[in-house]
């Protein structure tokens, strides 16, 4: 077996050193009735690299990849160009095959990357600090709600109607078990999200208000008004960013009053990968640091006075605090955080702003062309690179029919909000720097065809 270095002679010699006659003498503590006598039946035996690659390649070929067709999906996962150097760097074995940096003297590479990553995220979000990443945006969002509960000692969270339904569902699931109370509703099909309904739901039992920016229909909420209302009642504002490229153009949430900012970092450096692994971004005000979940990397010095980095404030974490920890999380999304950080370094603030302008320009062109299709109208008055179209019939059917023509047309609101009848004709469409004029035209023509 190509991955197992021990030879039969090694095994015999080692058993001799141990004083065991056979390998099964080492499994003596396994009860006889549970000890399998040979390979499990009905499972295949080992296979060559070539055979396995062929099998997996055949499965891969049964999927339509985003880069091979006109592609307009978003809703929390975005198709962006990833510079070649990103993937090269994250495949360096010193990053790829290292563990959590618990031995900082021989993990300064990972630790410095995390310190740089934390700084980048904090600056992007407009807050003082960020952690070393979480599983993904949706779980980071629940962690923010839980943290707001610890900070305010309240347990009622108000979710904006514009929050991604998977994020709202993740929060609702967790809240069932923790006893938190969650106000969550599907969005209304209006072009401009009004903060009034949200604001009227805030009272002095509210721990936090959770607002997605831009929201799940692509609209941009007025964060400052919501922040003022939340703070007036002693609640925190949690802002969720599922498309960090938007912050190349949009004001940072921290500058608009957000107390905690979480997000999905996949857009930068991480491929679509059918939904994971992605990376959760988590930033907040410095005064809340001891209530934060997740790993934190901090600066210090070594015994010779040289600058170095370590994991710190671990008295918040499960391996020290056990049941009193701020979270049970035991990993971050290390390699995805590295990819994000490399991509961000390549872009710089100037490049990110330009990338954001390209995204918005492509969305403008796409929206204009598609809204010209008979029977189709644009819902949004505000958007970044994602917007909602209202079709004359069920958008799920339209998406399926266009997929048969090898056009991946967007995400139907029926897929996101099954059973909400008044949303069924909504189609969420995303354009990025990867979108070409030919893609837009092909989509428009095909859409005209299926709606005719």
């Amino acid at each position: 077996m190509r991955y197992l270095p021990l030879t039969p002679a090694n095994r015999t010699e080692m058993l001799g050193v141990i004083g065991a006659a056979t390998i099964d003498d080492l499994f003596v503590d396994v009860p006889a009735e549970a000890h399998l006598s040979g390979p499990i039946a009905d499972l295949p035996m080992h296979a060559s690299e070539m055979a396995v690659e062929r099998h997996m390649g055949a499965l891969a070929a049964q999927n339509i990849s985003a880069g091979s067709v006109p592609f307009f999906l978003g809703a929390g996962a975005y198709k962006h160009h990833i510079p070649a150097s990103v993937d090269h760097l994250i495949q360096r074995g010193e990053f790829l095959t290292a563990y959590t940096p618990y031995q900082p003297e021989i993990a300064q590479g990972t630790l410095q990357v995390l310190f740089e990553f934390q700084t980048q995220v904090a600056r992007l979000f407009g807050v003082e600090i960020a952690n070393a990443s979480m599983y993904d945006g949706s779980t980071a969002c629940w962690e923010a709600v839980a943290m707001a509960g610890r900070v305010t000692k309240r347990s009622r969270a108000v979710l904006s109607r514009g929050l991604h339904p998977h994020y709202a569902a993740t929060i609702t699931t967790m809240a069932k078990f923790t006893g938190d109370s969650i106000d969550a509703q599907p969005p209304r099909l209006v072009g401009e999200p009004s903060p009034d309904g949200l604001i009227s739901g805030i009272d002095d039992t509210t721990s936090c208000v959770v607002v997605q920016y831009p929201d799940v229909l692509g609209r941009i909420p007025d964060l400052a008004a919501i922040a003022d209302a939340a703070h007036a009642k002693g609640a925190l504002l949690v802002v969720v960013v599922t498309e960090p490229v938007a912050l190349g153009l949009l004001e940072a949430p921290g500058n608009l009053g957000a107390d905690i900012v979480v997000g999905e970092g996949q857009s930068l450096g991480v491929g679509l990968q059918f939904g994971g692994p992605y990376l959760g971004l988590f930033g907040c005000r410095e005064k809340f640091v001891r209530q934060m979940p997740g790993r934190l990397c901090g600066e210090t010095v070594d015994a010779e006075g040289k600058r170095g980095f370590v994991l710190t404030l671990s008295t918040r974490e499960q391996h020290i605090r056990r049941e009193k920890a701020t979270s049970n999380i035991c990993t971050n999304a290390g390699l995805c955080a590295l990819a994000f950080s490399v991509h961000m370094t390549l872009l710089g603030g100037t490049g990110l702003a330009k990338l954001a302008r390209v995204n918005h320009a492509k969305a403008q062109q796409t929206a204009k062309r598609l809204a010209a299709v008979p029977g189709v109208s644009l819902l949004n008055t505000s958007y970044f690179n994602e917007f909602t179209l209202i079709l004359p019939r069920d958008a799920r059917e339209v998406v399926r029919e266009l997929a048969d023509q090898r056009i991946l047309a967007g995400v139907s609101l029926g897929r996101l909000f099954p059973g909400v009848a008044n949303l069924a004709n909504g189609l969420l469409v995303t354009a990025t720097e990867c979108t070409t004029a030919e893609d837009i035209e092909a989509f428009a023509v095909a859409l005209e065809g299926v709606l005719a």
């Binding site: 009860p31 549970a34 390979p39 035996m45 997996m56 891969a60 021989i106 699931t173």
Partner: protein, 525 residues
């Protein structure tokens, strides 16, 4: 044991001198020393006007759709060109130890070789460049990967079903515990206590507390296993279940596992098994045969997906028939004609009405599923058995080779499983486990897990894994013996190790007392 590296510094040559030659300078102008390269922060290196990505300025119409929301200034993020970026991260990478460089015997972490075919497969566009919300007719291959991996995991563990969505081991624990809580609620009972052995990973009590349980510890007996009588004495109508690790964190198989499960079940509770140590028994023992109700499988341990400097992980949870109805959405469903679909919010009411719900966006760590399935297919049923056998053989070889030099608290009673546990009992006054760990760094190895499990004083937990050769183990054993002997000889240079790493011991107290978690300086101007 004589060493070792014929090209390197040998013990008989005496201690290494610094500087190596009397006439060598102590310092260099650059701060670098040949291949020992220092690297500044990007905030010190970068410039606000620099970028490594060429983007043409777009033809942008006026911005009515963004009016009122535009940021006043570009984010203060310095950039670097591509050559500077590649150099920055490559120089940083050289300050990391990694499996690719040598043994990484962290107990309970299963740092085995990461096959590169897995990386190649995960990057196939049909897997890497597929959106999670594409119509299911366009992602049949991706759903087949999930389904095929699920079949292997269910079969290898002898369980009834599997929840694929959890994103890491601790997230898998959460999934299992939520299933238990849901099942108890469905029975109309109110059980609020989760039992956890003293030797458990910290995630176990943290997870159960996160899900709203109160935690009570169950003591270990003298041979490092759960005290069955103490467990039985505590079981009752308020106990929801037991979270047990098997093989446990002392590296021992819980001999009484079936009796433990039977007792928990008889008292109306459920058995959660922490599957962190599944590598020791994969293909040899099915946890389902031992009465387990839920167990997470760290794909990044047993099934070789890369640890990546701390993640991402993946933690599918296999479930018993009793807990399956409560498992999370979404999941794949296979039809007789061979096509697959996703059961999610739309169809859960009919297909999984008792599900506790969704625990994350989308469908799980697909990029890890492709890697894990590739690994599993490479090994097959026979190779996976050999994995467990070689992992256990390597650990016992280390145990027997070192138990004359170091105290092995449970080593006298019999073999260990995949990891060998030592205490600091045989170290002389003034020397600690930490000194041995830091000395290993100078020897060119990653240290073992230290001070865990808590049930052993000054614990050193060594998990070599099956991908270490005998020659590699002999080098490691030689270094461990040498370090123990140096401590016994009162060699105080061990107290200040490491001497040869990119950094000496770091001041963790200062880091925690005055946290500096982000670069505060001006940069990029």
């Amino acid at each position: 044991m004589t060493a070792v590296n014929p090209a390197g510094c040998r013990p008989e040559m005496g201690p290494a001198q610094h500087p190596a030659h009397e006439d060598a300078p102590r310092l260099t102008n650059s701060g670098d020393r040949a291949l020992m390269l220092e690297e500044a922060l990007i905030f010190e290196l970068g410039r606000f006007d620099a970028t490594g990505v060429d983007i043409d300025e777009p033809e942008l119409e006026p911005l009515p759709a963004l009016s009122g929301f535009l940021r006043k200034a570009a984010p203060a993020l310095p950039g670097l060109t591509e050559p500077e970026t590649v150099r920055h991260y490559t120089r940083l990478s050289r300050q990391n130890y990694a499996i690719d460089l040598g043994p990484f015997p962290l107990g309970s972490c299963t740092m085995k070789h990461n096959p590169r075919l897995n990386e190649k497969v995960a990057r196939m566009p049909g897997f890497a460049d597929v959106h999670p919300l594409q119509p299911v007719q366009t992602v049949q291959g991706a759903l087949k990967v999930i389904n095929e991996l699920a079949h292997w995991l269910i079969t290898l563990t002898g369980m009834h079903g599997v929840a694929m969505t959890p994103k890491a081991g601790a997230h898998g624990e959460l999934c299992g515990v939520l299933c238990i809580k849901s099942a108890i609620e469905a029975r109309g009972e109110d059980r609020t206590v989760m039992l956890v052995p003293e030797s458990a990973h910290g995630t176990n009590p943290a997870t159960a507390a996160f899900a709203g349980f109160s935690i009570e510890n169950i003591p270990a007996n003298a041979d490092g296993r759960v005290d069955l009588e103490a467990l039985k004495a505590r079981l009752g109508p308020d106990v929801a279940g037991l979270m047990i690790t098997n093989p446990n964190t002392c590296g021992l198989f819980e001999r009484d596992m079936k009796a433990i499960s039977d007792a928990v079940h008889a008292a109306g509770g459920y058995v959660y098994c922490d599957g962190a140590n599944f590598n020791a028994i994969v293909g040899k023992v099915r946890p389902g045969d031992l009465g387990v109700d839920a167990m997470h499988i760290n794909l990044h341990k047993t099934f070789s997906t890369p640890h990546g400097g701390g993640g991402p992980g993946s933690g599918p949870v296999v479930l018993s028939k009793a807990l399956c109805p409560y498992g999370p959405i979404p999941f794949t469903e296979l039809f007789e004609d061979g096509h697959l679909t996703l059961v999610d919010e739309e169809t859960a009411g009919a297909r999984q009405p008792h599900s506790f719900g969704r625990m994350a966006a989308f469908h799980g760590q697909m990029g890890m599923f492709t890697r894990a399935l590739t690994y599993i297919l490479s090994h097959g049923a026979d190779g996976l058995r050999q994995v467990a056998e070689d992992a256990v053989l390597n650990a016992n070889y280390v145990l027997r080779s070192l138990d004359g030099e170091l105290d092995a608290p449970f080593g006298k009673a019999g073999p260990c499983m995949h990891e060998a546990l030592f205490s600091d009992d045989s170290l002389p006054e003034g020397f600690s486990t930490l000194d041995i760990a830091k000395g290993l760094i100078d020897e060119g190895f990653h240290p073992m897990t230290v001070y865990f499990p808590l049930v052993v004083h000054g614990a050193m937990l060594i998990e070599p894994t099956e991908t270490e050769s005998k020659a590699g183990l002999d080098r490691f054993i030689g270094s461990m013996r040498s370090l123990a002997q140096r401590a016994k000889a009162g060699d105080t240079s061990l107290k200040s190790a490491p001497h040869f790493a990119p950094r000496r011991r770091l001041d963790e107290t200062q880091a925690a007392r005055k946290p500096v978690l982000a670069w505060k300086g001006d940069s990029g101007a």
